[in-house]
């Protein structure tokens, strides 16, 4: 604190501090870049595998466009035929974006769903990641037999207690994913 300030030493001091700090950060970034990429890739892979049937070779990320929205999806291919798709689907929930990974078989049946990220209310909407009844009902859900909307809106989806908005958002995300799979199937036949 004893140093008198003048333009020269202020500029010099700030430049030096910034230089040292950026060098340090650059170094740490170089060391951690690979583990970070690895961790993120593992998380993504785990989330895809959680919603797809066992077996099958996982494809690289592909995209499909439905009504102006682009969906990222992954194909699980066995013997050259796609056996299931994992579609990343984003809707807005109660607290912000709700991102799901939805596994759908080519005939349109839902295999399983999982939440990639959410900002729902703890103890209410956030139960979409823990409520067993809510999560289990998606396994084998066939949109051609049942209606993809919550019971309050005349559909067949059991909503989470006191969290209709989250349940609606979740249902919409699943529905969008099914639409995306329809579009993928359509493209493949052409």
């Amino acid at each position: 604190m004893a140093v008198q300030s003048n333009l020269k030493n202020m500029a010099l001091c700030l430049s030096l501090v910034c230089l040292v700090c950026s060098a340090l950060l650059g170094g740490v970034y170089a060391v951690t870049a690979e583990p970070i990429a690895q961790t993120n890739a593992n998380l993504l892979k785990a989330s895809i595998q959680a919603v797809l049937p066992q077996g099958g070779e996982l494809s690289e990320a592909k995209t499909v466009e439905v009504d102006g929205t682009t969906y990222e999806y992954y194909e699980s291919v066995a013997d050259g035929v796609p056996v299931a798709y994992a579609v990343k689907s984003v809707t807005s929930g109660f607290g912000g974006a709700l991102t799901l990974m939805v596994g759908v078989t080519p005939d349109g049946t839902i295999y399983n769903t999982s939440v990639l990220s959410h900002t729902e209310t703890p103890g209410l909407g956030a139960k979409c990641t823990t409520d067993e009844g809510f999560m289990a009902q998606w396994k084998g859900f066939d949109p051609s037999q049942k209606i993809l909307s919550v019971k309050k809106d005349g559909g067949d989806v059991d909503a989470i207690t006191a969290s209709t908005i989250t349940s609606r958002a979740y249902t919409l995300a699943v529905k969008n994913a099914c639409e995306a799979v329809k579009a993928i199937g359509g493209n493949d036949h052409e």
Binding site: A2, S5, N9, L25, T39, G123
Partner: protein, 196 residues
């Protein structure tokens, strides 16, 4: 300013506890203490930044022109926070996902800049490190206790272990419960402090 090494360390725990006595850094305190584990992680993350930035600042302070000392401190603090962010993303992705936004916000946590300005800039490296550890542990304890109380009342569990069946009182997991708990804990804390 002649304090024993021991009292530099202990004052942050009780007498100058950042949360219950100085009431600093309340934004992350209220937002991240939805459970004991979250509070503990946030406390440890802040402790890490606090100790390193205190040490670095005590080293550069004697050579820093007075007019740019705040920018210099902020750059130093931001560097350590970014470093922490990289490390957490790489090695503890689960905790990073939970705390998310509040890790970069440690940069503007007034406890960190407050200690830099009030202590580290006027003291040596060892004392500054001790001060950072003391204040950091005080902050961590406060956040863990607050998180624990909110978790027990709000979700009926402690450190993720289910104690009571059912959901508990949801309000305590949300923002109003944070204010209520903090208020009552402060009352208790100050009551015991006065007795001493």
């Amino acid at each position: 300013m002649t304090m024993s090494k021991f009292s530099i360390f202990t004052k942050g725990l009780v007498k100058e506890n950042p949360t219950f006595v100085l009431l600093l850094g309340l934004c992350p305190t209220l937002a991240t203490t939805t459970s004991a584990v979250n509070g503990l992680s946030m406390g440890l993350a802040t402790l890490f930044v606090l100790v390193l930035s205190n040490m670095a600042i005590s080293l550069v302070a004697p050579y820093t022109p007075d007019k740019v000392h705040i920018p210099v401190y902020i750059v130093v603090i931001a560097t350590f926070v970014t470093l922490l962010q990289f490390l957490m993303q790489a090695y503890t992705p689960g905790i990073y996902a939970t705390l998310g936004l509040f890790i970069p916000l440690i940069v503007v946590n007034c406890i960190v800049l407050g200690r830099a300005e009030a202590f580290a800039s006027k003291n040596g490296v060892v004392d500054s490190a001790l001060d950072g550890i003391g204040i950091g542990i005080g902050f961590t304890l406060a956040l863990t206790v607050l998180g624990l109380v909110r978790e027990i009342l709000g979700s009926g569990s402690a450190f993720g272990w289910k104690l009571l069946p059912g959901d508990g009182m949801l309000a305590f997991v949300m923002a109003p419960g944070a204010f209520l708990c903090l208020g009552y804990l402060m009352v208790l804390f100050n009551k015991f402090l006065k007795k001493e």
